[in-house]
């Protein structure tokens, strides 16, 4: 008996308040959106094989990249790790029976689905051609379905706020007796930091998008020059959310990496305090760097300088985390497994992607790179190379926990190699394209750039193939994999102290605080 089959019936799933079931439902939803966004990406890549875009016309191309961005950002990346693995694991990791507000948790799932349906219907019925950034005044004038997309994203935002509120309350109030803040697992810390961003930043975005929608319908002219409005003000409001949103995407990924590193090295994370400070630091300073998206948008030199230097500060927090992971591994007793291989990929891609972020924060370099493929490559290194690799690491690390089964290590390692290779082949050429001066969102391009586009497209298909393959062998393992045992990685963390898969209320009896989540007998450091 475990949470999968107790209680039984479709109804018990649809009306469940069990955090694990909500997490599972989120998992299937966001995986579907990942595939959908991926299909759009593949069509985009395919149409860029020829310089004159033989596949689709410019208007269709504009819709395709907009749909790719909207689906990936709002329907996959933002809910990906918090709503799936956060829901599945945060209560388990702190020894709780459930989240603080189980019904609100279920509501957040349905609100998310409702928002997603509004967005998707709007995209497929009318389509939007503004790019996921909705820059005014283009977005207030375009004759496309912008209003419904804005409403849909607002609704999805409400779901984010519910989730964030729930995790903050859960972390504050549901910890097992004896677990102090300084005993909190690092993954929970990152979810906590992420939740703060969700609760604080999401409403600003929601309001901004509603304003664009209202402007579109009633011609309010809030961002239009002919009423005295300022289009750049929209960008400030938009990036005030959308820059912290980047940390909503990456912080939980960092938490996953911290957990995997500690478990696989069988030792307490090095520099625990520094990681916590860096996590909260990123969450806070992340709110003060939005202007680095606008270095060529006519801000004053003074503002540009301030935003540049604050961006460097965020980079330093990320660097501290990387040092800490390497330091944990150094001298550990490391189990070579698929999750740790994904962490290896993560570290490489995140370091290079992060350093390319430092490069674009170096203001004068950004003048050449902004709005080119260099920036596209940079944020895909962080979003795909960071968040998706961490998502996959989490999937492989907690797979035995959630299903009770073990996947084939051979297939998993092969999958990891294909995904990592496909990723590098896709996005490395895009750095060079950016250097050469290829602006983003171009349906057609000068012919001398074609060879790089072709390589990138080949990589994209490799990456897509790797992702599908991963889903297939994991599904196969779920159906008829070998039983994994309660704690296959011999982790000391709390989530592994209950049976795998966990029973309905997680722990047979209220867990006792005997040792912290990182207490390893062989760890003498």
């Amino acid at each position: 008996m475990n949470f999968w089959n107790e209680p039984r019936g479709v109804r018990s799933w649809l009306l469940t308040t069990d955090h694990k079931r909500v997490g599972v439902m989120f998992f299937f939803a966001v995986s579907l959106f990942l595939l959908l966004g991926g299909v759009f990406a593949l069509i985009l890549r395919l149409s860029l094989v020829t310089p004159n875009n033989a596949l689709v016309d410019a208007g269709t191309y504009d819709r395709l990249f907009t749909h790719h961005g909207i689906i990936m950002v709002w329907l996959f990346l933002i809910p990906s790790i918090p709503s799936t693995f956060g829901n599945l694991l945060v209560p388990l990791m702190i020894g709780a029976r459930d989240v603080a507000f189980p019904r609100l948790n279920l509501a957040s799932f349905y609100v998310f689905i409702a928002g997603a349906i509004i967005v998707l219907v709007a995209l497929f019925a009318g389509g939007v051609d503004t790019g996921w950034t909705f820059y005014t005044p283009y977005s207030t004038a375009t004759p496309t379905a912008i209003v419904w997309v804005a409403i849909g994203i607002f609704v999805v935002g409400v779901s984010s706020i519910f989730t964030g509120l729930n995790f903050i309350a859960t972390t504050h109030a549901m910890r097992v007796k004896g677990m102090r803040w300084r005993d909190l697992p690092l993954f929970v810390w990152t979810i906590y930091g992420t939740s703060i961003i969700m609760v604080i930043a999401t409403p600003v975005l929601g309001m901004t998008l509603l304003l664009v929608g209202a402007d579109h319908v009633w011609r309010l002219g809030l961002f239009e020059p002919n009423t005295g409005g300022d289009p750049v003000l929209f960008q400030h409001l938009f990036w005030f959310y959308s820059h912290p949103a980047v940390y909503i995407m990456i912080l939980p990924g960092m938490g996953v990496v911290s957990e995997v590193v500690s478990t696989m090295a069988h030792r307490r994370p090095a520099w625990y305090g520094a990681i916590v400070v860096a996590t909260i630091g990123i969450a806070v300073v992340g709110f003060l760097t939005w202007g680095h998206h606008m270095f060529v948008a006519g801000m004053s030199d003074f503002d540009v300088g301030i935003f540049g230097v604050l961006s460097m500060l965020v980079a330093i927090f990320s660097a501290i985390k990387v040092f800490a992971w390497i330091s944990t591994l150094y001298g550990g007793s490391i189990t070579i497994s698929t999750p740790i291989l994904y962490v290896f990929t993560f570290i490489f891609l995140f370091v290079f992607g992060g350093m390319s972020g430092v490069a674009v924060a170096t203001t004068s370099l950004d003048v050449h790179w902004t709005d080119t493929y260099f920036v596209v490559a940079h944020f895909h290194f962080i979003m795909v190379g960071g968040t998706i690799t961490a998502f996959l690491a989490a999937m492989h690390y907690w797979f035995p926990k959630i299903t009770g089964k073990m996947y084939s290590e051979t297939w998993a390692k092969l999958g990891c190699a294909v995904v990592s290779g496909g990723f590098i082949v896709t996005f490395t050429p895009q750095f060079l394209l950016g250097n050469h001066g290829m602006p983003r969102r171009y349906a057609t391009y000068p012919p001398d750039m074609q060879w790089l586009h072709v390589i990138s497209t080949i990589g994209a298909f490799l990456l897509g193939f790797g992702l599908v393959m991963t889903l297939v062998y994991l599904a196969a393992a779920w159906v008829n994999g070998k039983p994994a045992g309660d704690n296959p990685w011999r982790s000391a963390s709390f989530e592994w102290r209950s049976p795998s898969p966990p029973p309905h209320e997680n722990f047979a009896e209220p867990p006792k605080w005997t040792s912290g989540p990182y207490t390893y007998p062989e760890d003498q450091a």
């Binding site: 090295a265 050449h368 001066g437 790089l452």
Partner: protein, 313 residues
């Protein structure tokens, strides 16, 4: 060395006074980024092999102390701040034109660039500048946000409706360099291209002085390029985003409403001012309205130009 790195990184030519300085910083930062990523990659591989779990599990050893932690973080921070300081100095230089710079006004619109020179000469698509003399480009937009981007100069600046922005450069070699729009502006975004033509100062002076007004159909041709009509409407019979103009004048076309319309002066003028009112079957409603942008004589000149491209009897 410069040439080697430039080609390895697939950068365009360095055709402005700013380009070389920016590229040197580029090489440094990207070189460090790559070195650090490669080093950490190798380090992790080494660690994974050296400390992998053996048949007899060794007790973990080797702890890296707090001194190393603080030192690493401090060193990284100093490097980042140093790059920022150099970069920001360059950024300020881009926005501090010398007093003797030639001021050229640029108006961006869907989907084309227009240039106005100090002596009153105007041009579209091609921006002629003298080599070796500082030029300040003053940007604004007629409709949505565009971005003036010259990769060979390593320069970019948004053109924003209702606002003035600027940048300056000195072209260092004669030649032709692409102007691209870098801020997404609609269906014609990727075709909103122009050229900077850097001329020896004497040639530049000759060109600006020799600007003359053309006849009506000629003026229409110029205007249709200037207003970006030709980004979507071809003049050779091929359809792209919009109907071709070849043989359009006087032709009868089916509308999305099911009606048939004759492309006479009235219809053509209406389609410029209110494009979505009578949409021809098979085309998307993407054309912006030119109401308030085109003056009466300008619209007439464009109609005259369409007529000159051939009429159906």
């Amino acid at each position: 060395m410069n040439e080697l790195l430039r080609q390895a990184l697939y950068l365009p030519r360095q055709a402005s006074s700013m380009a070389y300085r920016i590229d040197v910083l580029h090489y440094t930062v990207i070189g460090c980024a790559f070195a650090v990523a490669a080093l950490s990659c190798l380090l992790v591989i080494y660690i994974l092999i050296r400390f992998r779990e053996g048949p007899q599990r060794k007790p973990p050893a080797h702890k890296i102390g707090h001194v190393v932690e603080v030192a690493l973080a401090g060193f990284t921070l100093i490097a980042f701040i140093a790059w920022w300081a150099i970069g920001f100095t360059q950024y300020r230089d881009i926005h501090s034109p010398p007093a003797n710079a030639i001021r050229i006004h640029v108006v961006a619109k869907q989907w084309m660039w227009q240039f106005a020179y100090p002596n009153g000469a105007t041009a579209e698509a091609d921006l002629r500048v003298p080599v070796g003399e500082p030029v300040e480009v003053i940007l604004t937009s007629r409709d949505v946000i565009h971005s003036f981007y010259v990769p060979a100069f390593r320069l970019k600046q948004d053109a924003i409706p209702g606002r003035i922005t600027s940048l300056w450069f000195t072209a260092t070699e004669p030649g032709t360099f692409d102007i691209l729009c870098a801020e997404y502006c609609g269906a014609g975004h990727s075709r909103m291209r122009g050229r900077v033509i850097a001329l020896p100062p004497a040639d530049y002076a000759r060109w600006t002085d020799s600007h003359v007004a053309p006849d009506l159909a000629d003026a229409g041709a110029k205007l249709s390029a200037a207003y970006g009509c030709l980004r979507c409407h071809s003049i050779d019979g091929t359809g792209y985003i919009a109907p071709t103009w070849k043989g359009l004048y006087g032709a009868r076309r089916a509308l999305t409403t099911g009606e048939i319309v004759t492309a006479d002066d009235a219809y053509l003028t209406e389609s410029m001012m209110d494009p979505q009112a009578k949409l021809v079957v098979g085309f998307q409603p993407v054309m912006p309205s030119y109401l308030g942008l085109l003056s009466g004589p300008e619209a007439a000149a464009i109609v005259e130009y369409i007529r000159s491209l051939g009429a159906k009897p």
